[in-house]
């Protein structure tokens, strides 16, 4: 039986592993793999938790109050629940320095997508133009992945940007605010489409409405941000759990991979790892290795490996991420209405702005505010806290947020490199410089988004738009682009490294272009594609 070692159990790693197993390969998955705490009061809704949890402050804010957001912080409108701290906890020995970029890494079972918001948006053939193969070779895997994880949505006005695919289930029950917005869109549609080239429709989310296998359907508990206790919202650890029961699959958690070793012909032959707690070394012989540690960690692994193999670590260029701008809005029709807490919490609608170049499409996730911690929002109102609270009470049901995403392209000035110390430890240096035309692009797009909101009966309060720092969207890609032909720092259309044969990159590292859409659905599809094409039977 042929054998592959996979590094990382995130969205990319588990779907690569599943397809490789399906193809008859033996798979060993090495992972740091921090685990989630057990779900508390799994049947309780968001409001019930506040009534029934014996220590709700501990649950919502944390024993050390790490979930409380204080004024003067980064200007975000929500903080991460304390029990999700394990997802972002740093790893000792993985040093990182950055300029112009706020990097976020995960060493959890399931990786970053244990905290994702489930947005699952297929790329169009235009957006896949730089990928060195026929788009159809990737596009068909959207259906495969949707069948595995469960994606709900609709083929509606947004289909021009978000093509339909197999296994797209009907969307969840809309919350009242999203319904009002969709109704307003129907009325304003001719003008919005014509004048602003703006289209609104159902978002696409990796959430199930029906029961399947061990997962329950969504019952609108409204605690998605606090981790869905019913597993209706997909996370990669669900796939990992299923893999653990399969023959031919071995999971090695609590180990950090430090590098791969190559032979004289520059082909990988061994994986080096160490135990996270006691540092004990682990070596695994492997003629084929798949890196799925996330773009930053996978790149660091390659650089460390090249350093050990040839004595030098080059600079990888072309790091990409989606710039995100948060535009809060108030829907005047819903002022003084009671908020509906028992709803799906994340985006149920999306907004698309067409651009002359279809690759410059602008993607907005429209999240209406339902269950949420209110103190981060109330403190941002430019009034004393009691007055701000009075306004919030009357405006809660009317509040929403458009998370506007912009595309990114590979540029020399955005790079990853290694700095080594005397003790041979290395630090990953992340550098990011936005494109020169970015400020103007953001300005003109925001003008259109705000005009669109006005036509939907909403207004965006001045001074509250927040340009998130680069790195915040956590859609990292691009440093080892797939190309038909290229130098050592590129990969083949199967994501195989041209520097070290037998080493595959099955995460975002190899994307040659990053459209404005959240990329994880495509990460999973691409990982499954590589497994089928390069790890076939």
């Amino acid at each position: 039986m042929k054998h592959v070692v996979v590094v990382g159990s995130g969205a990319s790693g588990v779907h690569f592993a599943q397809s490789a197993l399906d193809n008859g390969w033996r798979v060993t998955l090495v992972d740091v793999g921090r685990t989630a705490p057990a779900a508390e009061l799994p049947q309780a809704s968001f409001a019930q938790l506040k009534r029934e949890h014996p220590d709700p402050a501990g649950y919502f804010l944390g024993q050390r109050f790490e979930g409380a957001l204080f004024p003067g912080g980064k200007g975000e409108y929500y903080g991460f629940p304390p029990h999700k701290g394990y997802i972002f906890a740093p790893l000792d020995g993985l040093a990182l320095r950055s300029r112009g970029f706020d990097p976020l890494l995960s060493f959890a079972r399931g990786g970053l997508a244990e905290a994702w918001t489930g947005g699952s948006f297929p790329f169009t053939p235009d957006e896949l133009r730089d990928f060195p193969f026929e788009p159809e070779r990737l596009v068909r895997y959207y259906g495969v992945i949707a069948g595995r994880i469960g994606v709900s949505g609709a083929v509606d006005d947004l289909a021009r940007f978000l093509p339909g695919h197999e296994h797209l289930a009907p969307g969840l029950r809309l919350d009242a605010h999203s319904e009002v917005l969709l109704g307003a869109y129907e009325r304003a549609k001719p003008r919005l489409n014509r004048e602003l080239r703006c289209f609104v429709g159902r978002s696409r989310s990796a959430v199930r409405a029906d029961e399947r296998e061990e997962r329950h359907g969504c019952t609108y508990l409204g605690r998605c941000l606090w981790s869905c206790p019913r597993e209706a919202l997909y996370t990669p650890s669900i796939t990992l759990r299923a893999l653990l029961r399969r023959e031919g699959f071995t999971y090695i958690p609590d180990h950090v991979v430090t590098r791969v070793e190559a032979d004289d012909a520059n082909r990988v032959k061994r994986v080096h790892a160490r135990h996270v707690a006691n540092g004990a070394a682990l070596e695994l012989d492997a003629p084929r290795v798949a890196f799925a540690a996330g773009t930053l960690a996978s790149s660091k692994l390659l650089l460390d490996s090249l350093l050990a193999h040839g004595g030098a670590a080059p600079t990888l260029t072309g790091l990409m991420d989606n710039r995100q701008v948060l535009v809060p809005f108030v829907n005047l029709a819903l002022l003084r209405k009671r908020v509906e807490l028992d709803s799906y919490q994340y985006h149920q609608l999306a907004l698309g702005l067409e651009r002359d170049d279809p690759r410059h499409y602008v993607h907005g996730l429209v999240t209406t505010l339902k269950s949420a911690l209110i103190h981060p929002i109330v403190q941002s109102v430019p009034l004393d806290l009691a007055s701000a609270l009075w306004i919030f009470r009357n405006a809660h049901a009317a509040l929403g947020l458009v998370n506007v995403n912009f595309h990114d392209e590979r540029r020399e000035s955005c790079s990853l490199s290694l700095e080594t110390a005397r003790d041979e430890s290395s630090t990953l240096l992340v550098r990011y410089e936005p494109a020169a035309q970015e400020p103007e692009r953001i300005r003109s797009t925001l003008r259109d988004v705000k005009r669109a909101l006005r036509q939907l009966g909403c207004f965006a309060p001045p001074g509250m738009t927040h340009v998130r720092p680069m790195g915040a969207s956590v859609h990292y890609a691009g440093v080892l682009p797939m190309q038909r032909e290229g130098g050592d720092l590129t990969t083949t259309p199967h994501g195989e490294s041209r520097a070290l044969g037998g080493l595959y990159f099955v995460d975002g590292s190899t994307f040659p272009f990053l459209p404005a859409k959240n990329l994880t659905f495509t990460l999973m599809a691409n990982a499954a594609r590589i497994a089928d094409e390069a790890f076939g039977r």
Binding site: K50, F70, I374, Q379, P382, L383, I391, R393
Partner: protein, 169 residues
């Protein structure tokens, strides 16, 4: 002061209470907790909220990074004497020192109130006013805020200077 609906709940001591934190309760902190909660919600804090407020201070999460200045501590002491003073000083700090000690304490209390019934529901229920009344109140809140900031700036300026002077000396 105890909140009656909270008393019916099964006792749920937080970690600070379990560790015996209640044995050295700071009466000044308790007092400011009471006044600040009245300012935010119009009611007294429940035992749970009070206990968590003290625990947050013990955990050291309330102080701004780099520590609070003498002026910030003085503002907190003044604010804890009456709800109208909290409003005035909160407005001033919102404009001139958003991340100050008083603002941090108030936001912490808001966070504690919003996670625990029955405060949570009360904080999140529309006031039931008509559209016209709402617009009127909105305008009033804006005007009152502006006037308050103006007035507190004038009143606090000499004190602020004195604290700066003292710190330099």
């Amino acid at each position: 002061m105890k909140n009656s609906s909270d008393e019916r709940r099964p006792a749920a001591p937080g970690p600070a209470a379990q560790a015996g934190a209640a044995s050295h309760v700071d009466p000044l902190l308790e007092r400011e907790c009471d006044v600040f909660v009245r300012y935010l919600s119009g009611t007294a804090p429940s035992d749970y909220v009070r206990e968590r407020y003290l625990a947050a201070h013990e955990a050291g999460v309330v102080e701004p990074r780099g520590g609070a200045t003498g002026f910030e501590r003085w503002i907190v002491r003044r604010a804890s004497s009456a709800t109208w003073l909290v409003r005035a000083l909160d407005a001033h700090q919102r404009v001139f020192a958003n991340g100050s000690l008083l603002r941090r304490k108030l936001v912490l209390l808001l966070a504690l109130l919003e996670v625990r019934a029955p405060h949570a529901e009360a904080l999140d229920t529309p006031t039931g006013s008509s559209r016209a009344a709402m617009l009127f109140v909105l305008a009033w809140l804006g005007v009152r805020f502006a006037l308050t900031v103006l007035l507190t700036t004038l009143v606090l300026a000499p004190f602020q200077l004195a604290f700066k002077w003292e710190a330099r000396a």
